[in-house]
């Protein structure tokens, strides 16, 4: 089976349900995702009841024609027409069901109406309308029925979302989606009754062709409903609140961060720290949805069962030839005038048995040449506390401490190339330039260091400028002088004649205490052994909360007879400690030894420094020279 393709088919159905379910009914009234799932109660008489009244029979037949039209219109993307037709048809089936609650034909029609009723979910439509309007796209384009279109829409959501998603919190979207789940439950209830009756079939006239739907189609359709419910439940259950009360500006501000490296004040960094912080609920399951979320494996199990059920029905029909299958969507048989052979049908049933079993016990997934690891997907749904709890034991420092070096450095009498003061000065210059010219995108091109002075070349783009700045250190104070300021359209061709007079000045600064200290009249500067770029973001601890090493410790390696080398994976395994290396049983066979000795080396690129125990300063700089 191709899981990606399977998922795409399932998502079509899921998508159809998202846009197609009604909200004016008792079973589909809006539900707040945070309030938890709404229970559905539908009375279904088991088995299929015949309609005795001729007039009612005629009404059902007429409504069936309309439902075909609704689906076809829906497929073509004519939202407005489908909307009108669907509302009308749904009413007809509802009336028939009142008189004949056990009539499967009416139940089926009602299910079809629920799925195709795209008009009434105001919450979803209002969100979609807003987003499409902002995108400048007609709203019907999402309903074109083209699988690739659906894919491109979701991709666009994630790629260009900040402006289009403005004012739409993730919670609001989840609530809107949650409101269709009761409708889906009703559809599942009716459809289960229909699929369980092996005598019931229903014919539709489609484009001069009569199509007969029977268990061979009802059961896979029911399976799709289960998959749709599983998908929607996982979407609405998890805490994906990446927005800040509907505000997505923090994503944009991360772009600014690239020009300023302002750890303390950048909105994006602050918000990210909040998302992964100690008390964050991000990626955890909302309390009210926990039982529904844990039930997802059962929904998938039911889906598998009903796909098997449908194919098995085809196999049974095949025993008597193709007579009873003439109008089916697919014919099971062994000759050329059939779609699926009996052997293949049986193989599919058997492979679904294996998948069902593997969903419970785990799939063996290859991760490197000749190596496999067991992944138990069902365990995903047993964990409702989010994924952050599986991160190694660590403490995230308050961002006010990020400029205070913690391990992996020495105190030097001079401001060396790898002094933390170098990065601090450069960030400061970029921030100052960004204040002077907010439109421009500054970056440090290069710098030269002397003992207490040096030069920094600042390049700025759009508008383009190249600035030569010298610095002079007096104790912990740094003074700056702008030596030249060039402006021009083409950065590559800036020359001496492009020198202009600038009003920009750079005030002096004082280096933070952690980077610079003066004792007994002697000033010293914190200098990284290998790499001064990584801020003091976090440190790792053991399970009791005792500090092992800081991140800066780790990136600056360990002393090896006067040389610095990277930590070996074996050494790291004692520093970085995972609370549960099986990640909640998702990787049931994973052990600490296996993770560090087999799994990680296999997935790390061969060129990585971990393959070499000795890491020189040049090696680190080659890899990370992307200020």
């Amino acid at each position: 089976m191709n899981p990606i393709k399977f998922a795409s088919i399932a998502s079509i159905f899921a998508f159809a349900c998202i846009v197609g379910c009604s909200s004016d009914d008792s079973e589909s009234s809006p539900t707040n995702a945070g309030d938890g799932p709404k229970q559905t109660s539908v009375d279904v008489v088991s088995g299929c009841e015949e309609i005795t009244n001729e007039k009612d029979k005629a009404e059902v037949q007429a409504a069936k024609k309309e439902i075909v039209e609704v689906f076809s219109t829906f497929g073509k993307g004519d939202l407005t027409k489908a909307q009108a037709l669907s509302a009308e048809t749904k009413e007809t089936f509802r009336t028939i069901l009142t008189k004949y609650p056990g009539n499967c034909e009416a139940q089926l029609g009602f299910v079809a109406s629920i799925i195709s009723d795209i008009s009434n979910n105001k919450d979803i439509n209002s969100i979609l309308d807003t987003i499409y309007k902002r995108k400048g796209m007609p709203k019907s384009s999402i309903l074109s029925g083209n699988v690739e279109d659906v894919g491109s829409i979701s991709l666009n959501f994630s790629l260009n979302s900040t402006e289009e998603m403005r004012g739409i919190p993730v919670k609001k979207i989840q609530s809107a989606i949650a409101s269709v789940i009761p409708s889906l439950d009703s559809a599942i209830t009716y459809m289960t009754n229909i699929a369980n009756d092996d005598q019931f079939s229903c014919t539709y006239d489609i484009n001069d062709r009569t199509v007969e739907l029977d268990r061979g189609e009802f059961a896979p359709a029911l399976a799709a409903l289960f998959v749709a419910k599983a998908g929607l439940t996982s979407i609405v259950s998890l805490n994906f609140d990446i927005d800040d009360d509907g505000n997505y500006d923090w994503i944009d501000s991360l772009e600014d961060f690239g020009y300023t490296f302002d750890y303390e004040n950048n909105y994006g960094i602050k918000h990210l720290a909040k998302l992964v912080g100690k008390d964050s609920k991000f990626t955890s399951v909302q309390d009210s949805w926990k039982s529904e979320y844990k039930n997802i494996p059962n929904l998938l199990d039911s889906a598998i069962t009903y796909v098997q059920f449908g194919i098995q029905y085809g196999l049974e029909e095949a025993k008597t030839g193709i007579t009873t299958q003439q109008n089916d969507l697919y014919i099971v048989g062994n000759d050329e005038f059939s779609d699926l052979s009996t052997k293949d049908a049986q193989k599919i049933i058997d492979s679904l048995d294996i998948i069902r079993e593997k969903l419970k016990t785990g799939f063996d997934i290859p991760y490197a040449e000749g190596k496999k690891i067991k992944v138990n997907f069902s365990k995903f749904f047993e964990n409702t506390d989010g994924t952050l709890k599986f991160l190694p034991y660590h403490v995230l420092n308050d961002n006010s401490k990020w400029d205070t070096p913690d391990g992996g450095f020495y105190w030097s009498d001079e401001v060396e190339y790898q002094a933390y003061a170098q990065r601090y000065m450069q960030r400061y210059i970029m921030q100052e330039y960004h204040k002077f010219n907010p439109e421009s995108q500054p970056e440090v091109g290069s710098w030269e260091d002397g003992s207490y002075n040096g030069t920094i070349w600042l390049d700025a783009y759009d508008p383009n400028a190249e600035v030569e700045i010298t610095y002079e250190v007096e104790g912990c104070k740094v003074n700056f002088t702008i030596e030249s300021y060039l402006e021009g359209y083409n950065f590559s061709y800036l020359e001496e004649e492009d020198i202009v007079t600038t009003t920009w000045t750079i005030p002096s600064i004082t280096l933070p205490e952690g980077m610079c200290k003066t004792e007994g009249g002697k000033t010293q500067y914190a200098t990284a052994y290998i790499e001064n770029e990584v801020p003091n973001i976090l440190y790792f601890t053991d399970k009791d909360g005792n500090k092992t090493y800081s991140l800066q410790d780790i990136v600056n390696g360990v002393d090896d007879d006067g040389d610095r080398r990277s930590y070996t994976l074996d050494e790291l395994s004692k520093i970085i400690i995972f609370p549960d290396i099986t990640f909640g049983g998702v990787l049931p066979d994973m052990t600490v030894e296996m993770f560090w000795n087999e799994f990680l080396p296999a997935i790390i690129d061969d060129d990585d420094d971990y393959s070499s125990p000795i890491a020189s300063e040049e090696n680190w700089m080659d890899d990370d020279w992307d200020y």
């Binding site: 089976m1 076809s72 029925g145 484009n207 062994n334 779609d339 052997k343």
Partner: protein, 466 residues
């Protein structure tokens, strides 16, 4: 050029096998190669070559003959994928003919797994004869390969051989009145589908009827030749998958073709006038029945859960109808002065023909998508029209050496042709059923574009007789 191509394709089975039996000259060896190249390398390419060596020996009533040849025909079409059709192989053929006073028998077999036997009854002086022949065989007509540009697509590669079982039968009748010769042949070829045990294969169920009439007048200084051929073909080409003892159909192409070809030539010793005309119509009927769709990709998918679900949730079929009309006329003159010295004969030739062709092709494609009871149908149509006139210039050189005091001769023939269009009017129209018919006549003023720009043919033959 078009004429040659069609003749070549149709003649692969029949003419190659049959001409040796009835048209070869005794006590003579021939080695001949020819090629046809129609190139438009961006989107399409058609080319074909053929080489064969024949030899025959007569002893008394018996004539034994054999031939060995190689043929290659290829065509490719690119459109986000590449479809290529290739037919090539070595054909060895051998046979024997026995001629009695009033009756001849012949039988020959070739490596295409076909065998033909014939009987000819004639007057003692052979001035009138009639005969019949039957044959059967199992050739591989072509290898078809489809490659997607996207290696990650669900199906990125299909390779299928087209094999067939054929049975042919026919009658010939001929007579000679003084210097006039006439002969006629009627032939019927019927193929029955052959199901191969390969994952993908192509088979056909076809009927071809061929009528062929020749008249010639061999005067002292004048030769006149008339030739007319009519081919009526009904082909049903079927694409299948075969997996785990089960055959499924994913393609059905029904073609009805009617081809008329007439040729006339008047030859003098050093020059000749000739004319030929071709009219062909090919129709592909769009069938609405289930399992008779032109292309049904769901049935092409490998058996899997995704395939089983696709029948319910995303079933797509394509139905295509087409109507192709081809008319071509060419007439011209050939000059071939004969230069002889010291047993050598050299005949350079130049042949200039004017041609006119008017061709039309209409294609209508319906794409149908069924998702449970949701049905969507999209119709697209294309219309191509080509009108062109111009010249076909052929250069040839023939050299023959006779050996004094012996009946041995050796000869060499070379010929090359190039199409030079003077006017080329190509237009195409597209309609998707919703928008206005979209015409593109941008090629109208461009002369010599596409296939014709590179139309080129050449042949070389060596003969030795004793």
């Amino acid at each position: 050029m078009t004429t040659g191509t069609i003749k070549y394709v149709i003649g692969l089975v029949s003419i190659t096998a049959f001409s040796v039996a009835y048209g070869s000259v005794s006590s003579k060896s021939t080695a001949q190669c020819g090629g046809l190249f129609l190139l438009d390398t961006e989107t399409a390419e058609v080319s074909g070559t053929r080489c064969h060596v024949t030899d025959s020996v007569s002893v008394g009533k018996y004539t034994a003959f054999g031939s060995f040849g190689h043929y290659r025909f290829g065509g490719t079409w690119n459109d986000g994928w590449e479809l290529s059709i290739k037919s090539n192989g070595l054909i060895g053929s051998a046979g024997i003919r026995v001629g009695f006073k009033y009756i001849d028998f012949s039988v020959d077999a070739n490596s295409l797994y076909s065998m033909t036997s014939g009987m000819r009854i004639h007057k003692a002086d052979s001035s009138a004869y009639m005969g019949s022949f039957i044959g059967m065989g199992h050739p591989t007509l072509a290898s078809i390969r489809w490659d997607s540009d996207d290696d990650n697509s669900e199906i990125s590669h299909i390779a299928a051989d087209w094999e067939t079982d054929f049975f042919r039968k026919g009658v010939i009748i001929g007579a000679q009145f003084g210097k006039q010769y006439v002969n006629a042949k009627i032939e019927s070829i019927i193929t029955t589908p052959y199901s191969a045990n390969r994952e993908y294969f192509v088979k056909d169920s076809s009927h071809l009827a061929i009528a062929d009439i020749h008249y010639s007048f061999d005067g002292t200084d004048n030769d006149i030749r008339l030739h007319y051929t009519n081919v009526i073909a009904n082909l049903n080409i079927i694409g299948n998958t075969y997996r785990d003892s089960s055959t499924k159909r994913f393609m059905f192409v029904p073609l009805d073709a009617n081809l008329h070809l007439a040729e006339l030539s008047w030859e003098r010793l050093h020059y000749a006038l000739h004319a030929s005309a071709l009219r062909a119509n090919v129709q592909m009927e769009k069938k609405d029945e289930r399992f008779f769709e032109t292309f049904a990709p769901n049935r092409l998918l490998a058996p899997s859960i995704i395939q089983a679900l696709s029948f319910t949730f995303l079933q797509q079929v394509y139905r295509v109808g087409a109507d192709i009309d081809i008319f071509a006329f060419a007439a011209g003159a050939k000059i071939n002065p004969r230069l002889s010295f010291a047993g050598h004969t050299i005949v350079p030739s130049i042949d200039i023909q004017g041609y006119y062709t008017y061709d039309e092709m209409d294609v209508e494609k319906t794409s149908e998508t069924t998702r449970l009871i949701a049905f969507d149908s999209r119709k697209e149509s294309w219309h191509w029209q080509l009108e062109s006139f111009g010249t076909i210039i052929s250069l040839g050189l023939s050299w023959e050496k006779s050996f004094a005091g012996s009946s041995h001769t050796i000869s060499l023939d070379w010929n090359a042709s190039q199409i030079v269009p003077l006017d080329f009017d190509f237009s195409k129209e597209y309609s998707d059923g919703e928008s206005e018919r979209n015409s593109d006549k941008s090629l109208k003023t461009r002369s010599g574009t596409g296939l014709f720009r590179n139309g080129f043919a050449s042949s070389l033959a060596i003969r030795y007789s004793f």
